[in-house]
Structure formats: C-alpha cells, structure tokens
Symmetry: C2
Subunit: 140 residues, 2 copies
DNA sequence: TTGTATTTGCAACTTAGTTGCAGTAAAATT
DNA sequence: AATTTTACTGCAACTAAGTTGCAAATACAA
C-alpha cells in the first residue's frame, strides 16, 4: 500500500489533506521500523516541517484508528509506530539499541491454542519482543 | 523463598530492617501477581503503613537489583512487580483486566534458537504477554 | 552512647502523552 | 466567487508515572 493510496483512503473517509500526516506515512514507509514521536518529529523537521507535538500525536491517533500503522512497545517508556504490514516481532540490541524485525510466522499458533485449551481463555493478541546482542555487538 | 529468608539475605548485604520493604515482599508473596506501585501503596495502607511513593520506588529498586522481584510490563503505562519465581508469562483479560500467570515452559526455546541461527543474534531475554477474554468474560 | 550509613519524606523536577480552546485552512455548498 | 462547514493545527496548561536532591529520622555496629 503506497502513500497516495493511503491518502486517498483517508479522503474517502472524510479526512482532509494534511502534509504532516502524509509525511508521517512516508517516513514510516521509508524507514520500515518502529519510530517514536521524537524520532518522527526529527524526521519531519529534516523535511522542513515543524508540526507541534500535539499535531503529531493526533495524526498518529488517526492513522492507528484507521489501521494504517501499529503501536509498538519496546519497554523503554515511549511508544513507537510502524507501518501496518504482516504481523511480526522485534529484536532489540540492548547495547546499540538497534531494532530488527523478526518474522515468526505461525510459531506461536500452537502455543496459543494450547493455552486456550488448558486455560479456557480466548486469546486475541500477544506481544513478543526479543532482547539481546546483535551481530555486531556480539563480537565485542 | 519466604520473607524472613529475603530479609536476612538483605541484612547480610548491608541493608537494614525496613518495615516498608519487608511488607512489599510479603504483599507480593501473598498476592502472587504483578502489582503496580499504586496497588502496592494501597495494600501497604491497609496494613497501617503510609510510605511516600518515593520510598516505595526506592524499595522496589533495591528488590529488583537483588533479584527478589521482577518488573512486568503489561502495556498500560505503568510497571508492575512480582516475586521472582519460575519464568512465566501473563494473560490479561482486556475486559475485566484480570491477570493470570501462564507457564510456557520451553515452548519458546526452539523459536529462539531458530531466530539466533537465522539472524546471528544472541537472545538474552524476551517479553511475551497474551491479551484476550478470560473464562468469565468469554461467556458474556 | 555515639557515629555512620541506610531509610524515609518532601518538594521539585522530568518525560510522555492528553485536553481545551481558539485560529487556520481544506473543500463542499450555494 | 463567496460562504459555510468541519478538519487540521498551535499553544498553553495539564496529567500520570517515575526520578532526584536534600535534609531529617532511624537502624545498628562499635
């Protein structure tokens, strides 16, 4: 799903053009990694845009609500946002803070089914993030 | 590991008696579920103790550092703490907010090994929490 | 009983995020 | 083109979780 596509879909829903909101999508598309609002604002600044943080939070609220982006919590006290693509997890290097995407496909399905059966829950979602040392930092 | 045991271990390390810190351990032992500082302070109050939040945060800092408790993040913006026992995960009912412990034993080991091989990471820890409907709320 | 390090309370601060309100601007309607 | 509607934005003030500095209180070893 490219940017124009998303902008058009938003327009159909009654949203108006917003250079800030469009740029947030562009940035997230290009970086393809979860970014915090701080990081987003820095990227916007480097594009010559200087929206207030309130605006950024509100744009994110809309994009989350319309399911164009996802919220990611990497346990460091700030939410991050990434383009909503195939379900995946992350590996965070505790040394250099680098973030990688990790595809686990259906490795968790069996586990969820097992838990549902054993406990009687209906599992709707999960969070799974890995922490450790990346290739580079492993060597040092 | 019971409370006296923990208090004694702390004393050996140069810590002094603290009714607040001891009570935090007692509460966490008894409840056997992750509690937020708010919840901890309420429980302490009902024991006739009224420590300042700073004190509670500092007691938790010590107990975390000495590995008597663990920090748990259930993605609602506040940390929780629980007695450090066998590694496990949680199931959070999104309706009634009830928290259950989920033992996954070594279900994740294969997955971690696979990721380590494929990506070249050294995985040191992970967070895995499940969200959905508990037995009761499933019925409604 | 004294000395010292730990524990505690208080106030002020930080950081991430939210809310209310007024002003601006997109775009549909006339 | 002018008007109207409503989305978008900025600003300031606020909230909530957690932290820091400092001084006072307390545990406890000597």
């Amino acid at each position: 799903m490219d940017i124009n596509n998303i902008t058009q879909k938003l327009k159909k829903k009654g949203y108006r053009n917003s250079i800030n909101r469009d740029s947030i999508i562009e940035i997230l598309e290009e970086r393809n990694l979860p970014l915090s609002t701080d990081e987003l604002i820095k990227e916007l600044n480097s594009l010559g845009l200087h929206p207030n943080k309130t605006t950024v939070y509100r744009d994110i609220y809309v994009l989350l609500g319309e399911n164009f982006i996802n919220e990611v919590d990497l346990l460091d006290g700030k939410k991050r946002y990434e383009i909503n693509r195939r379900h995946h997890h992350h590996f965070i290097c505790t040394k250099c803070k680098d973030i990688s995407c990790v595809e686990t496909e259906n490795d968790l399905d069996n586990l969820e089914t097992k838990i549902e059966k054993e406990q009687g829950f209906k599992i709707k979602s999960h969070v799974l993030e890995f922490f450790g040392l990346c290739r580079k930092c492993k060597k040092d």
